[in-house]
Amino acid sequence: MSIAITARDLARRFGAKWAVAGIDLDVPRAQIYGFLGPNGSGKSTTIRMLCGLLVPTRGTVTVLGHSVPRDSEILRRKLGYMTQRFSLWDDLTVHENLEFVSRVYGLDRATRRERIADRVRRYDLESISKQRAGTLSGGQRQRLALGAATLHEPELLLLDEPTSAVDPQSRRDFWENLFALVARGTTILVSTHYMDEAERCHRLAILDDGRIAAEGEPKRLARDIDATVIEIGDADFDAARRALAGVSEVRSIAQLGNRLRVLLPREVSDPVGLLRSALAAGNAGATVERVGASLEDVFVAATRLGAPAAPERAA
């Protein structure tokens, strides 16, 4: 498996705060690699360091065989970047935006015409090509931004929370487009805070407070979760919550409709029995059942209980 991005001990400090506190990354080629994490977990900072926008405080990065930030200029032609915020020009039309970006990438006239026509068709921009970008809907802007970011046919696409302002149908379509790009050999690194999007990635890194809390294929992450997941149903939820609050092993409780989802450490030998007796003692009469972990459970386990806090490497 060929590798598109390698990072070792990558870290970046802003003032006294470490936004990224030393991460290792290996992103395989022609796959979608996801960054899942809450706001402020270091997703954007990492992406900006990978494309040479920010200089790392510490660590090494190799992108498509080039060292970053040393070779950032060479990489500009091989790399496409979609910012979190829409960053094309509101007062230019869809077509003018595409035209400008392709000129800035130095494409000749014939290539420009051909590529723009192709992107307009592929990303369904025909009907709005004469419309100013400022008047577009969230989904339309997304398609335009993706079209613009792929005009120079980059080998690697970096997408920073591309779907945060987009409706669910547009998000689905957007991901279809991403898979089409991957099928043609493009490597995509995408950050998100949506679980459903994270589940669609080939591989995933869960970021928390500047560190990678868990990494791997989404399915495998759920299977290998370092926690036991218990679902409680048919309960008097107030009583159940009170009863569970007294159980020191319980790491997290979340309500999903008429069920409570409880995470416990894997070491607990009889988690079902433990919770059952606690609930019975609290007169919260309920069904207790062990279930498989979802990606959200992985996320909660990784970010909240996590591994014991890693020693501070940065000084």
Binding site: G52, S87, D91, F100, R103, Y105, G106
Partner: protein
């Protein structure tokens, strides 16, 4: 010529965006026109017809001739006669007289002595321009020297290059620099900051466009705008106020081009410091006020304290005022003013170097 194509792409985009911004387009023509009309018609540094009061305590033929001579200068308008000192003060206090002239009772003896003032001029200090008038009157030979026979020729003041002493002739060339400062600095500073504010810059710096191409591409349209404004001001000055251009037009445009470049480079530097368009605007104003006040546009350069003169030396407008006054009024060539040109070039180079260094840092 990949870099040229990228530079032109940036310039073309800028022009397209500008052409869609109707208010800015309006300002490009509106600022020079309005300023020129305002300054040209409203501001008048010439002082004529100042109301005066005379207290003639001497009442001799000499004192009457003296008062008559003062009236003949046209600087003083209506001259009221006061009978007592008290009456004179009342006239001043009521604003009916802005200048009071007190002739001593023993006028002839004082003139003969030569060491005591024979005539006292009292000025209303609330009106700054009047002090100059008083100084002018005091310097008339009649009042200064003993026994000299007053004659009409003795009070004549010769003014070179602007024989009619018309304010418009002084104002129009200098206004050209002031207007260019206002528009060039603000336009460029906010044009670049706008891209940062709206997030466009984050996309641009991940593309192969270099910071030099980006800057040059963005500034190019504003150079053209600056030249259009120069043309507008000089032609309005010529047709409305009859201000001729004595020197060569080519020199005028080369000088203007250099000054436009210097102003743009200042705007560029501001854009690397300001984070929002609002900040950019305020910083532009901070640099603009001293330019207008200290460059010799409003007040004569020579009259300023030494420290202020040093600051004025740093301002590009000071040097451009010299250059354009030289070309427009004195018919000088650009080559006659090498020092001023060199100072402008130095300013431009320093600003460009500092901005480029700062802009690179910002990519970080």
């Amino acid at each position: 010529m990949m870099w040229l194509d990228r530079l032109l792409a940036v310039a073309a985009k800028e022009v397209r965006q500008l052409s869609r911004d109707r208010i800015t387009m309006g300002l490009i023509v509106g600022i020079p026109t309005i300023q020129l009309l305002l300054f040209g018609y409203a501001i008048n540094f010439d002082v004529r017809g100042v109301s005066a009061a005379v207290l003639d305590q001497s009442r001799t033929s000499l004192s009457r001739r003296l008062v008559g001579d003062l009236g003949a200068t046209q600087v003083l308008g209506q001259i009221r006669q006061a009978r007592t000192d008290r009456e004179l003060r009342e006239l001043m206090k009521g604003g009916e007289a802005n200048i009071a002239i007190i002739v001593a009772p023993d006028l002839e003896r004082r003139i003969a002595d030569g060491n005591r003032a024979a005539v006292q001029i009292v000025v209303d200090g609330s009106q700054p321009a009047l002090e100059n008038v008083a100084a002018g009157l005091a310097s008339m030979p009649l009042l200064r020297r003993a026994g000299a026979e007053p004659s009409a020729r003795a009070v004549e003041i010769q003014v070179a290059y602007n024989p009619e002493k018309r304010t418009a002739v002084q104002i129009v060339p200098a206004l050209c620099g002031v207007i260019l400062t206002m528009t060039m600095v603000i336009f460029t500073a906010s044009a670049i900051v706008r891209e940062r504010e709206r997030g466009n810059l984050e996309l641009l710096i991940t593309t192969p466009v270099s910071s030099a191409e980006l800057m040059a591409g963005k500034l190019l349209p504003y150079v053209a705008i600056g030249l259009i404004q120069t043309t507008l001001i000089i032609s309005l000055g010529y047709f409305l106020f009859g201000v001729p251009v004595e020197g060569r037009l080519l020199d005028l445009y080369l000088g203007a081009l250099l000054f436009i470049a210097a102003s743009l480079s200042l705007g560029l530097l501001i854009s690397t410091i300001a984070k929002t368009q609002f900040q950019a605007m305020q910083m532009s104003i901070v640099t603009m006020l001293p330019s207008i006040l200290m460059s010799g546009f409003m007040f004569p350069f020579e009259g300023m304290p030494k420290a202020a003169q040093w600051i004025a030396q740093v301002l590009p407008l000071t040097h451009f005022n010299e250059i354009i006054r030289g070309i427009v009024l004195r018919g000088a060539a650009l080559s006659d003013m090498r020092t001023e040109v060199a100072k402008l070039v130095t300013f431009l180079v320093v600003m460009l170097v500092v901005s480029t260094l700062r802009f690179r840092k910002r990519l970080d």
